[in-house]
């Protein structure tokens, strides 16, 4: 188990290094001139040269990449030794071209909103998806199965940017049942926080539960036709015990994979949800950075999101190993 974990972590780290080279290359090498972007509107050749020197864009590329990575690992000091020395503690991702803030601080500011969306929504979609899938599988071909499968199919074909607006139009603007979506700190205003989050949770929860409902139903039906389930029933186990201990355990493994990947993807920024509901999370930060061509912030958000996805992959594999004896042997 430990050896496997170490191997997976090394594999994950390798992927991250490759991703970082790729991202660095794409965003700092390809664009015409990052210094020009950092320089802003009132730019003079002198100012640009100065910025190029400050941001260390005047040293060879491999050295630039090395300092970039070193900044992430152990911090970095721009203009070391001079009066204008800029310290950037690890993990240093540089300064925003737009606001001159540390990218790390921007990410820290925006993370709580994304975490709020991701955790609330993921609980909701697991609850809805699993329960409707289980009911469908146990009451196969009844009206309740048809209804929940129909809802799941609709959910899988709907888009956040459409459903979000429709729900907001009816539930907030017309009926006034929910308050406008938004984000406040849950530590200071727990009630307002929950009220502002309900709409994003509902939208994401409903849309993402669709695939879970379909997966759960298909998985359970497949497992229920296995011989060992027949054996379990034949030896007189209650159907509750068979359904939940034997069937669910086998049917849940593929669902965990999808859940881990969805959550990892979402933690890196619920881009569309945050955009539709105007919630200041990591995804919103990224869209803002993209429209301002704020390279360090773009790189920061992409890297953070990639870390979440890689970590989610590792966690999924570990959970898999615990749940599925077949994987443990391999």
């Amino acid at each position: 188990m430990l050896a496997y974990l170490v191997r997976r972590l090394i594999g994950g780290a390798t992927v991250m290094v490759l991703v970082s080279i790729f991202v660095f290359g794409l965003f700092f090498v390809l664009p015409a001139d990052p210094a020009r972007l950092a320089c802003g509107k009132s730019c003079t050749p002198e100012l640009m040269a100065e910025i190029r020197h400050t941001l260390e864009l005047d040293i060879p590329l491999p050295a630039q990449y090395f300092r970039f990575v070193k900044g992430i690992v152990s911090g970095r000091t721009y203009l070391a030794g001079s009066e204008a020395q800029l310290d950037c503690a690890a993990p240093c991702l540089g300064y925003s071209y737009q606001t001159d803030e540390l990218v790390t601080n921007l990410l820290k500011d925006r993370a709580p909103a994304t975490l709020s969306i991701a955790f609330g929504a993921s609980i909701l979609w697991l609850l809805i998806g699993l329960s409707s899938g289980i009911v469908s599988a146990l009451r196969r071909a009844t009206w309740i199965d048809k209804f929940s499968q129909g809802a799941a199919l609709a959910g899988a074909s709907l888009q956040i940017y459409f459903v979000g607006l429709v729900l907001q139009f009816f539930l907030v603007d017309k009926l006034g049942w929910l308050s406008s979506p938004g984000y406040v700190s849950p530590n200071d205003y727990p009630m307002e926080w929950a009220q502002g989050m309900i709409l994003p949770w509902l939208t994401l929860g409903f849309l993402l539960s669709a695939i879970y409902a379909r997966l759960t139903r298909a998985g359970m039906i497949e497992v229920m036709s296995e011989d060992y389930i027949r054996t379990a029933r034949a030896k007189g186990l209650t159907s509750r015990s068979v359904n939940f201990k034997h069937v669910m355990r086998a049917a849940i493994t593929p669902i965990i994979t999808v859940f881990g990947l969805d959550l990892g993807q979402l933690l890196g920024g619920a881009v569309i949800t945050e955009y539709v509901f105007n919630i200041p999370g990591l995804g919103k930060l990224a869209t803002e950075a993209v429209s301002n061509v704020d390279l360090p912030v773009i790189v920061g958000t992409v890297l953070v999101a990639a870390v979440f996805i890689v970590m989610a992959n590792i966690v999924v594999d570990l959970v898999y190993m615990i749940l599925d004896p077949k994987v443990r042997l391999a």
């Binding site: 664009p31 015409a32 074909s157 459409f162 869209t287 890689v310």
Partner: protein
């Protein structure tokens, strides 16, 4: 007295069996009808301006209420005999025309991206699965890296960068660059899903007797991959493609909605949704039309994909 004659027993190919399954599937008929309708209006879009005597880009200020912040006159966003789906707030452009031309843009981008992603995915999957070893390791790692990228975020981030590179390389500004970039981004993130499935299938086929037999007869690798293995893969490839198209359509719309896709004045469903956001409270029809159309189109493609999968899968319960 004549006995009832039994139909002669005829051999049917797997394709014929799948086709007969599909033909007797009502869902498949209905969903392919809707898919066809959308494709059809996209194809014949250029005839509508002649019928309606206006263009998707023409402004119609006479349809707007200047006192009400230039909102459409009349109910449901100004629906009338002249403007079937109403008009756009502020400009008065005909929404029906923007809708049919939008179908053209959205579907073309998604379908071109599907073709490219499928060609790349199938080739890489074949190579990776057939040759194995080092080649497989490198290609699998490549797929892993691409799948580790937060795709929407990354697609969003790379668009301005690629745009500046391509504009410097001499491509025309605006959509002349935007559309190729979108196709590139969507297919770049789409192919690994196809490649993974093809790779898995190839690995299980590679060791089968018929491949061994062909090898023993002295067939070249080229022949083995394209003449022996590939023809056995059309079923999983078809299913993957059928289920990929709706994903690509929604990715295209999402990217455009987030501002990294098609820009004015070209019509596009994602762009219509984006443009409708500031007005959705006063003119909900404008948001509803492209959003609902997108839902129906994606639903039709999803249902069709499911039907194709059921028809091709001998194990499927029917």
């Amino acid at each position: 007295m004549k006995l009832i004659e039994a139909a002669p027993i005829t051999g049917r190919s797997p394709a014929a069996i799948a086709w007969s399954h599909l033909k007797s599937d009502r869902t498949a008929w209905v969903s392919s009808f809707f898919v066809f309708i959308f494709l059809f209006i996209g194809v014949i879009a250029p005839i509508f301006p002649r019928i309606l005597h206006t263009t998707p880009d023409a402004f119609h200020p006479e349809t707007l209420d200047a006192d009400m912040g230039a909102m459409p006159i009349g109910s449901f966003g100004g629906i009338s005999m002249q403007h079937w789906f109403g008009v756009e707030p502020r400009t008065g452009r005909d929404i029906f025309l923007r809708f049919v031309f939008g179908a053209r843009t959205s579907l073309s981008i998604a379908l071109i991206a599907t073709v490219i992603a499928t060609i790349i995915g199938v080739s890489i999957g074949l190579i990776s699965g057939f040759f194995g070893g080092k080649v497989d390791q490198v290609l699998s790692r490549l797929m892993e890296i691409i799948l580790a990228f937060p795709s929407i975020l990354f697609a969003l981030a790379i668009t301005p960068v690629l745009e500046s590179v391509l504009t410097r390389a001499g491509l025309p500004d605006g959509n002349g660059v935007r559309i190729p970039v979108m196709i590139f981004v969507i297919s770049t993130f789409g192919w690994p899903y196809i490649a993974r499935i093809v790779r898995g299938q190839v690995i299980s086929l590679r060791e089968r007797e018929f491949i061994e037999a062909a090898r023993a007869l002295g067939a070249s690798r080229w022949h083995l991959v394209f003449r022996e293995i590939l023809p056995n893969l059309w079923a999983p490839i078809l299913v993957t493609v059928a289920l990929n198209i709706p994903t690509f359509i929604t990715t295209e719309a999402a990217l455009t909605f987030l501002g990294a896709g098609v820009i004015e004045p070209t019509s596009d469903w994602g762009a219509m949704l984006l443009a409708s956001v500031p007005f959705y409270r006063v003119d909900p029809m404008y948001t509803f039309i492209p959003g609902f159309a997108l839902f129906i189109l994606v639903l039709a493609f999803n249902l069709l994909g499911d039907s194709v999968r059921d028809a091709l899968d001998p194990k499927s319960s029917r």
